[in-house]
Structures are given as structure tokens and as C-alpha cells.
């Protein structure tokens, strides 16, 4: 398989984007998706249950030391950073905030890049700070595919705008990003 996992960072304005992704990805979508949003420290993550009803895939909170599996969309626990180990399992940390955020997109992206190397797709969507830019750079440096939502279309443009400095392979509206992911997924699963 050319790509083995997708990491997505969203912040302000992200709920709508996350809903769209979760509802449009088909049952046949194999690559695990890890979606980091800037959730409040006291959130209870009940909204995952609500989104789950609209999705073809299994959506869940990423558990400590849980192995990452295909066909699932993972979300972080509020007030913890989420990182990925070399053996493709999750770890949680309560290190200091990064970019005023815990979970931070950079923290997940950097560890995901180390774990998946060139087999990773990194995506930065709407948001109002610059979290995700350094992480996306790491993904690109290690040979992964980088995608940024077109800032013109994003509800909050500064996060995708900042990520443009990485010179991502694709800058697209959200729906096109989802189409691209579905295409990559079917090329991934095609047998020669």
C-alpha cells in the first residue's frame, strides 16, 4: 500500500468540516484517519457518538496504547496530547501545551511522520492559529503527502494559510480533498 494512514488537523470552524469528512468517506475506506481538533479541556467527547451515527466508518476516541486499525476514525482525548508510536499504537501525554493547545496538531503530526514516514497523508483544514504547520513540514520532509484546504474556502483561513509555507502537494477545497482521499484509497486497495 502506498499510503497507510491519514492525519487531519482542524481548529476553529472545524466541526462542520469534520462532519463532512465523516459522512462522505465510504465503508470501503481502509486507511485509518486520525483527526485532531482543538477541543476544550473539559469537553466530554460526547459529540463523537453523535457524529458516529452519520458515518460509514467506526469513530472512536484514541485509547492509550491502542493499536491503530483500518476502517476507523480516531479522535483525541481532551486535555492530552496524542502521539503515535513506531509500532502504530497511540500514546497520550500531558506535556505542556504547544501553540496554546493540548491536544496539538503539530505534536500528533510530528510523531505520525516518524512512525509512518512516506506512507502518511497529512491534511491541514480550517483554523485560526498556526498549529499544524511544523507538523506538516515534518510529514513532507519524511516523504509523506501533504494537503491543505484552500484558505479562500476555509471558514477560518489563518491555519491553512500558515500551512501553505510548507508548499503542500495539493491545495484544494474540502470536497475535492475528500474525493482525492477516496481516489487514493481505491488505488491503494487495487490488486495488480
Amino acid at each position: 500500500m502506498k499510503y497507510e494512514a491519514v492525519v487531519i488537523g482542524v481548529s476553529a470552524g472545524g466541526m462542520k468540516a469534520m462532519k463532512l469528512i465523516c459522512s462522505l468517506l465510504p465503508k470501503t475506506f481502509v486507511m485509518p484517519v486520525i483527526m485532531i481538533s482543538h477541543i476544550g479541556a473539559r469537553s466530554d467527547n460526547e459529540w463523537i457518538g453523535l457524529l458516529n451515527r452519520k458515518s460509514n466508518l467506526i469513530m472512536k476516541e484514541a485509547d492509550e496504547k491502542e493499536m491503530i486499525e483500518p476502517g476507523k476514525i480516531y479522535f483525541p482525548t481532551p486535555n492530552y496530547h496524542l502521539v503515535i508510536e513506531k509500532d502504530k499504537s497511540f500514546s497520550l501525554t500531558i506535556d505542556e501545551k504547544v501553540n496554546y493547545a493540548r491536544p496539538s496538531i503539530d505534536v500528533l503530526f510530528e510523531s505520525a511522520a516518524d512512525a509512518y514516514q512516506e506512507k502518511l497523508i497529512g491534511i491541514v483544514l480550517t483554523g485560526s492559529n498556526s498549529d499544524g504547520t511544523l507538523g506538516l513540514k515534518r510529514i513532507k520532509d519524511l516523504g509523506g503527502l501533504t494537503i491543505v484546504q484552500d484558505p479562500q474556502e476555509a471558514e477560518y483561513r489563518s491555519m491553512p494559510e500558515s500551512a501553505l509555507s510548507v508548499k503542500p502537494e495539493h491545495v484544494l477545497p474540502l470536497k475535492k480533498i475528500i474525493e482525492l482521499l477516496i481516489n487514493i484509497n481505491s488505488q491503494n486497495t487495487e490488486r495488480p
Binding site: V83, E85, T93, I94, V98, D106, K137, R138
Partner: protein, 281 residues
């Protein structure tokens, strides 16, 4: 809190040989991080490299080998955990409602707070025991292997900004007293009341290399095990099991579990959501 928003091209792909650095730290200084979560360790070492203006892991390696002060800083950085008073108020509520009644049955109470870091949760425990009328017959062993964190904990001085957040936690945990009655404040800092500390014993203990030091009724170890790999988690769980009296209580962080360890069947769940377990008789 660090704010990083510029891309620095000096630091090209980071492929740190963290294992080698950890080996040196263990052999030369005796601190064993070799079974810590690798992703976490790499991130910390990488940050240290950036802050110290180093270009690659070889520089980091030789500095750790030759510069004891630098090594001490790294060891501090790798071992520090961020904590709060009454972190996860729901947990402290459950502690009050489900664990305190068990503790009340003992004539004297020994609590081991393992990995107390800068002490916030040990003070939270002292406050809780005080409000339940148990503090006078309790001893809280608050341990950590980070000497600087332990010193901070012993001093019991925290910034006033943090206290506001702690007070919200305290309220949400079911606290009914005036939180300000537990400390003395000036403009920038607060210092915890002496009456809370009388029954706390601060001590150096390393979960990775040290063994059982007391038989206790309650073990609290929250958000420490997340930094360990599965083997080390298992080892430390056995240490806790051996330290607890029969019927004793084990409290873990809200994302930590006994599930992957061989101790799972040796406890009953007292509160599954808050990760509170009771050692079987």
C-alpha cells in the same frame, strides 16, 4: 507553554537515535528511560536540541556524555509531568463518594501518591482527607524521582494564575469549603497551609528501579504510566499490587487501565470510568 510558528529550515528531517542517548543517560547517570514511550522521548529530546541550538543527535549525545549539568537538565525535562490540583474533578468526586467510606474503616490510613511531580495532587488528597475528618490519622507518602519537582512540591508554592483553575476543579469535584482557606496568598503566589503538610512525607522513589517501601491502603498514580511502554507498565502495576493491603484501593489516570497488565484479574472495579480498583481479598 511554547509558541512555535516559524519554520526553521536548519532542522531537517529528525531521525534521532534516541535509544543511544537513553543508554548513555542510564549507564552514566543511573536514570532509566529506556522503557518510556518512544514518541514522547523523541519529542522531548528534539525540543531540547532546538532550544540548545544543536544541529543533530550526535551533538546531543556528546553533550550528555560530557556535561553533567546539561544531562541533569535533560533528565529533569524527561521526567517532569504537568499536573493540577483536583485534576479530573469527576475522579475526586468518586474518591469522596466511593473510596473515603472504605478508608474510614481503618484506624490509621496510609496513602502512596506515586509520581507526585510538583505536588498538586498530593495537596488535593490532603484537602480531601481533611474535609472528611481523616487527615489526622493519615500519612501520605508522596514520591517522585525528580528531585527538583519534589523540592517544589515540598515548598508548596504555586502561581496565583493557576490557583483560579484549581479552584474551578475543586468546586466541580464537590468541594464545599472556601478554597482560599487552604493557602496564604500574596499578589503572585500562594503557599499551601502548614496544616495540610503535616501528614505528607515527601520522598525520593523511582518507580522504574526502586521497590516496595511500605504497605499502604491507597495507591494513587495518575498520568504517570501513560509515559511507559507496556512492559514497564506491567512491572509497575506489580509493584503497586505488592504495596497494597488486601482490599486496598488503586487509582489510575482516567486514560490508564489495568487491561494490558497481568494484574487485571487481581482487582475488582470500584469505578470503571474513573479507573478506581479494589484489590481482591
Amino acid at each position: 507553554m511554547n509558541k512555535r510558528n516559524s519554520i526553521d529550515d536548519k532542522f531537517l528531517p529528525f531521525q534521532i537515535k534516541s535509544a543511544e542517548v537513553l543508554d548513555i543517560i542510564f549507564r552514566k547517570y543511573g536514570y532509566d528511560f529506556r522503557q518510556y514511550s518512544e514518541a514522547h522521548i523523541k519529542r522531548r529530546l528534539y525540543n531540547t536540541m532546538i532550544i540548545s541550538g544543536m544541529k543533530d543527535v550526535d551533538q546531543l549525545e556528546s553533550r550528555v556524555l560530557t556535561d553533567e549539568l546539561f544531562a541533569a537538565r535533560i533528565i529533569y525535562d524527561l521526567s517532569i509531568t504537568v499536573t493540577e490540583m483536583f485534576r479530573d474533578p469527576g475522579f475526586y468526586k468518586a474518591l469522596r463518594e466511593k473510596v473515603i467510606p472504605v478508608l474510614k474503616t481503618y484506624p490509621f490510613i496510609k496513602v502512596w501518591h506515586a509520581g507526585c511531580a510538583t505536588g498538586q495532587e498530593a495537596y488535593s488528597m490532603a484537602i480531601l482527607l481533611k474535609e472528611e475528618g481523616l487527615l489526622d490519622r493519615s500519612t501520605i507518602y508522596a514520591t517522585d524521582f525528580n528531585q527538583l519537582a519534589l523540592k517544589h512540591a515540598r515548598e508548596g508554592i504555586y502561581s496565583s494564575d493557576l490557583i483560579k483553575e484549581y479552584e474551578i476543579n475543586y468546586r466541580l469535584s464537590g468541594g464545599k469549603e472556601a478554597f482560599s482557606s487552604y493557602y496564604t496568598a500574596d499578589e503572585d503566589y500562594v503557599i499551601m497551609r502548614q496544616s495540610l503538610r503535616n501528614n505528607i512525607v515527601w520522598a525520593n522513589h523511582n518507580l522504574v528501579t526502586d521497590s516496595v517501601f511500605a504497605e499502604v491502603h491507597l495507591v494513587l498514580c495518575r498520568n504517570v504510566l501513560i509515559y511507559f511502554d507496556k512492559n514497564l507498565q506491567n512491572k509497575v502495576q506489580n509493584l503497586f499490587y505488592d504495596s497494597l493491603v488486601k482490599g486496598g484501593i488503586l487509582c489510575l489516570g482516567s486514560k490508564e487501565s489495568l487491561k494490558f497488565t497481568n494484574c487485571y484479574d487481581l482487582y475488582n472495579e470500584l469505578d470503571n470510568r474513573q479507573r478506581i480498583y479494589k484489590k481482591k481479598y
